[in-house]
């Protein structure tokens, strides 16, 4: 295994190229400017296409076009840019097209700030744009995982013909860590549905418009069954020090990594805390969390927002009165000491 030092932006880009991504369109926005910069050199090197689009809206629609043509395609941005991409993401979902969208989450709402945040949890896990749809959302907590999950995202996108989000943050975008790179030849799946010209076959169309009575309802139920399959098969989570715990802490992404340090500190002081870390934020690992929650009396949810994943914890856990929350919105990043204080407090 080859190990190199990479920033989160570069790691995600390398993971994409490794996964066979041959099309990238993006638009500059802090804190992920290294992403398009790096792709502008790497995509042509690897035989792919790089386009600096005139807008976030255009970038996601270029990705839509590349996906229509059967390419593995992606875009990256940060929160305000991801808001603009929601139109395209809704169309991708409606047309059942695979694509990968990386969000280096920064503080909001509005222009917010450029520091790390987890404030786009709702946007990522509840569809984000208009219509009845879901997007698979993967939340890394290290640069290695940014690489691994971007790679995985392309396989999941093709497997289910659905857009997949990698929800990282401004810290993971810029932080540098050693990354083990994958080697070996990547085989890409065939896409008979892609529009490549109708020579030798019947003409195809790709669309999300279904005007005849009941047809859209049928289409929506078909999508719902797909989301159900994804929910059953693609839940990813990790647990840490949960076997003997008295108190459960639930956290994701960067925040979970900081929380793990707080749990280690708590254990040194004799507090038996454990960490439940959802990796797939949608599909959310509801059942595993429910089982884990039955072992403890109190649950602490820690997020870099005002309490968004908290809703999913409340869906998973019976008796919500025992759930406590500690959050840092607006670009605030908690220290392990802060979280330890909350662990002690509850």
């Amino acid at each position: 295994m080859k190990k190199v030092i990479l920033s989160g932006c570069k790691a995600s880009a390398e993971g994409a190229i490794r996964a066979g991504c041959s099309f990238y369109a993006g638009y500059p926005i802090t804190p992920q400017n290294r992403f398009p910069e790096y792709m502008s050199e790497r995509m042509p090197e690897s035989g792919g296409v790089f386009i600096q689009a005139e807008s976030e809206v255009s970038a996601i629609n270029m990705v839509f076009g590349a996906a229509v043509a059967g390419a593995r395609a992606m875009t990256s941005s940060s929160s305000p840019g991801i808001s603009l991409k929601q139109e395209g993401i809704s169309y991708l979902a409606g047309c059942e097209l695979p694509a990968v969208i990386v969000n280096m989450n920064r503080g909001g709402p509005g222009l917010g700030d450029v520091t790390p945040s987890q404030s786009d949890y709702f946007q990522s896990t509840r569809g984000g744009g208009h219509g009845d749809y879901r997007t698979i959302t993967l939340a890394p907590w290290s640069v290695q995982e940014v690489y691994d999950f971007t790679y995985l995202a392309f396989d999941l996108a093709d497997k289910y013909r659905n857009p997949v989000l990698v929800l990282a943050d401004g810290m993971l975008a810029q932080m540098m860590e050693p990354v083990e790179l994958l080697t070996g030849k990547k085989r890409l799946p065939g896409k008979k549905w892609a529009l490549t010209g109708c020579r030798g076959r019947k003409a195809h169309s790709i669309k999300s418009l279904f005007l005849a009575p009941g047809v859209l309802e049928t289409h929506n139920w078909k999508l719902a069954r797909k989301y159900q399959r994804i929910s059953e098969r693609e839940q990813i989570y990790n647990t840490y020090m949960c076997s003997d715990m008295d108190l459960l802490v639930v956290s994701f992404g960067t925040c979970a990594r900081i929380t793990l340090e707080a749990i280690r500190m708590a254990r040194e002081k004799g507090i038996k805390a454990g960490l439940f870390r959802p990796v797939s934020l949608w599909p959310y690992p509801l059942e595993p969390l429910r089982n884990m929650a039955e072992k403890v009396r109190k649950i602490l949810v820690v997020e870099m927002n005002c309490g968004q994943m908290l809703d999913d914890v409340k869906i998973a856990v019976k008796n919500t009165s025992r759930i406590f929350f500690y959050g840092r919105p607006g670009g605030g990043v908690p220290t392990p000491e802060e979280i330890l204080k909350e662990i002690k407090r509850i």
Binding site: F64, A69, G197, C198, R199
Partner: protein, 252 residues
Amino acid sequence: MEKELRYIYRKPESMTDDITIYCPGCGHGIIQRLVAEVIDELGIRGKTIGIAPVGCAVLAYDYFNFDVTEAAHGRPPAVATGIKRSLPDRIVFTYQGDGDLAAIGTAEIIHAAARGENITVVFVNNGIYGMTKGQMAPTTLPGQRTTTTTKGRDIAIHGFPLKVCELLATIDGTAYLERTKIDSVQDVMKTKQAIKKAFTYQMENKGFSLVEILSNCPTNWKMSPSQSFEWIRTKMAAYFPVGVYKDRGADK
């Protein structure tokens, strides 16, 4: 002397048997037939990918017998960019109305032109939002009545119509721009020649080509088809002069 039977006129292979949703007298049927004839004549049906707009032509993928995708309102030039860059040897075109191309999709068309994307754009300018029942379009003429300009478009309030060919002609990335109209048989034939030239330019990798076609909307203009052609001839063509606005292929 043996008699040989041959077709002199029939439905192009590039059209399906679907019945269109277009109103009686609407120009979309004429223009889509011209596109289909051109694609047949150039022998590119098997490698063409079309992009349908949002608007009256939204169901174009049902009427064209080759690969066609949907696009969000105004985004066909961005979608075309993604397809063409991924499959450079295919023929990629967008079919867009004035609301799609000159209002909500202004950024996309200007920047596709600026990048010199090797795509073809069929731009149908009928000066009104047809699908949504007749609101003011970016190309509605001064004084023209619509459902959002019931006293007529007042330039002091609603601003001026956008002249797309003139605008795009200032962009270095464009290769061929022509404005035509479909109010007479001669003009329909000229329009077909322009569409054919636009596709040929793409086949020859000459870059961005667009044909703006002054078309009609009898229903929402509240006119008979013949009155609507007269309106194109006298009113629209006066504000939007027909002609070639850019022809890089003709430059020597």
